[in-house]
Symmetry: C3
Subunit: 159 residues, 3 copies
């Protein structure tokens, strides 16, 4: 019997902030470029990455994030407008470093054959309908579908 | 020599918020239902998931979480009572979607044979005693016990 | 053909807070002590763990962290000085439990042969230069280098 030679990357994307939307998409598209297989299971807040109404307005939290390159006192971070500023700063850095935008990365992932699943349970919990999800994503599935895929993966990551 | 056929899921649960208490328990109980093996190593804030005094009062942070389904300005999120409100909202969504509670999921995991470990070092750091931990959990172990288990796993996740 | 027998742990360290700097270093040094191979890819805020100007001043966020052993109302957590207090508390707990400091753990990791990579893209995005990174770390690499290493790992974790 021939040995499996194609490597596989299986990712759970559970965060809905702009900074944590990049890692699953960058890793999956890099994997595809290396001729690996890759799949992403969007669940919990991660649904927002592939949700029409939110995918272009993901935000970076300025609060409770002492690791921000320009540290902000928490009281300042609580002022209205600071989330917008932190988000704008990150978009500007990403642009300067010539990193693709979230929507560009999603398109590269879909075109490259990354499996893109949305979690049925998270959709019910958060009241998200299939029509709220962007095109190119498979029908909602349960965690079992992801585990079945990940069980034959070489790299599995919860992001 | 027969090949290992049972798949194995190894999880580190390091977060103590209500929203991040669900993923390890849902994934592990789903894996068991699929006839996989599953183990969870509770460490750092994740100890609170299996701690008698906290397991029924885990909370959702409303602050620094721009991905909350109903976004809240940070200044509003800093007001007393907002953590309680965000927590109540999540419990209500989970209930509507017929998701089991944390304590129900823990019981399903224990009954289903999920390995449940607590991290000895984290217990010392946080001043948690063995008597503070719920029944059905194994004696405290070090990270080596988890790594040994995970080294033969097919899926490993840090949550 | 001889079977690979040495087990391998591959970690992405993406967080720059003190509490999330410990897990990658503790797990990797434990793995080395168990005669496993281990590698850490520092990216996003995780760069701060191996950055000269920040590695000794990583902080714990007191806000939006309802799982802190001594819970703090969010409004209190937003007061100036609370990040410092939460950080001091964690360092004190770690000291009492005889856990090595971050810089000690990094040295143990380097001496023990843990592969330590920094992410080239994150460095560009955050404006970090190679001279800003501590000694003993390899030249900046892309995500592909990590994926290539992780594809032959037995445990992969995104922290």
């Amino acid at each position: 019997m021939a040995e499996k030679t194609t490597k596989r990357l299986a990712i759970i994307a559970s965060k809905g902030t702009l900074d944590m939307a990049y890692p699953p998409l960058i890793l999956a598209t890099t994997a595809i470029a290396m001729d690996m297989e890759a799949g992403i299971f969007f669940t919990f807040y991660g649904l927002n990455i592939v949700r029409k109404s939110t995918m272009n307005s993901l935000k970076v939290p300025p609060l409770a994030n002492p690791a921000m390159p320009i540290p902000m006192p928490n009281l300042l971070g609580a002022l209205p407008g600071m989330t917008a500023m932190a988000t704008m700063m990150m978009k500007s850095w990403m642009g300067k470093a010539k990193v693709a935008s979230i929507s560009e990365l999603i398109q590269i992932a879909i075109d490259g054959g990354v499996k893109m699943w949305v979690c049925q349970m998270a959709m019910e919990v958060m009241g998200v309908k299939k029509s709220d999800i962007i095109d190119g994503i498979e029908d909602p599935v349960g965690a079992a579908t992801f585990l079945d895929y990940a069980a034959d993966s070489d790299i599995s990551l919860f992001i």
